[in-house]
Symmetry: C2
Subunit: 159 residues, 2 copies
């Protein structure tokens, strides 16, 4: 599917993959630590990590000889998934966590909360959902953006 959302989900859309990346972003690198924190079967974890290594999200780094042991370290490509994890977390904070967020992402310099926002690269302004629209890019595939629907208010509400 010629869509970057689908391409990303091809890599990390399997159940558990983004939770593995979440833990890796928090500094977890060892198979046993992932397994203990996530409470998944070793087979499933092995399968997901192998896939993520094959996709270049993790490097598998040999760190011990007897017995042979490996670290799983995020690559730059893997670290670039942090906005995905942040976006999932912020939605969960808002809609499933009435007691407040379990964790906060804070600006080290001032201790205040950091949130994802949409920013215009030219104006450098924060823009709202109603201020943006989707247009074809260089690799546009026919039909990706639907034609105007019969009832345009729905599409308008998104734009």
């Amino acid at each position: 599917m010629s869509c970057s959302v689908a391409q990303c989900l091809e890599v990390v859309g399997e159940w558990w993959s983004l939770l593995i990346v979440r833990d890796a972003l928090l500094g977890v690198t060892r198979f046993d630590d992932f397994q203990r924190r996530l409470g998944i079967s070793r087979n499933v974890l092995r399968d997901r990590l192998s896939r993520l290594v094959a996709e270049g999200v993790f490097d598998k780094v040999h760190y011990q000889e007897h017995p042979v042991r490996y670290d799983y370290r995020l690559t730059d490509k893997g670290r670039d998934l942090s906005p995905v994890v942040t976006a999932l977390r912020e939605w969960g904070d808002r809609h499933t966590s009435p007691g407040g967020p379990p964790v906060r992402l804070v600006h080290t310099a001032c201790g205040s909360d950091v949130h994802l926002v949409h920013r215009c690269e030219r104006c450098a302004q924060t823009v709202e959902r109603t201020d943006v629209r989707v247009v074809p890019g260089p690799a546009y595939a026919n039909g990706l953006i639907p034609r105007a629907e019969p009832r345009a208010e729905e599409a308008a509400a998104w734009r």
Copy 2:
């Protein structure tokens, strides 16, 4: 799992769910349109949409009597998933789309590209991954943030 990332994945982590939300954000509301665009089986689509309606991501709105037909419209809770879709898309654009992005999100006022950034709510500055850290929030559950790992450079690299 007391983690907002996991809670969000509980709702939209099944294969196809976020692609359905992606299309809904583009204005698609009809079962047949989702089915045609995604190329999935009607049974799977029916199952995913039912789940998303039950979770409050979509409203199922009756629009025709003979035969009975429904629209699937994103709720506010559903529209709030747009940063998740944007984050997935931006990662895909960067890492899987060498010919450039299939679609662009642009600022309606000036036509320039809009991107997700992390912003400090106090400084109102854009902050980089190296400028933030994760701290316990009001609903913190023990162990969510791992203790310092033996090799601290990995955690340090994330912060």
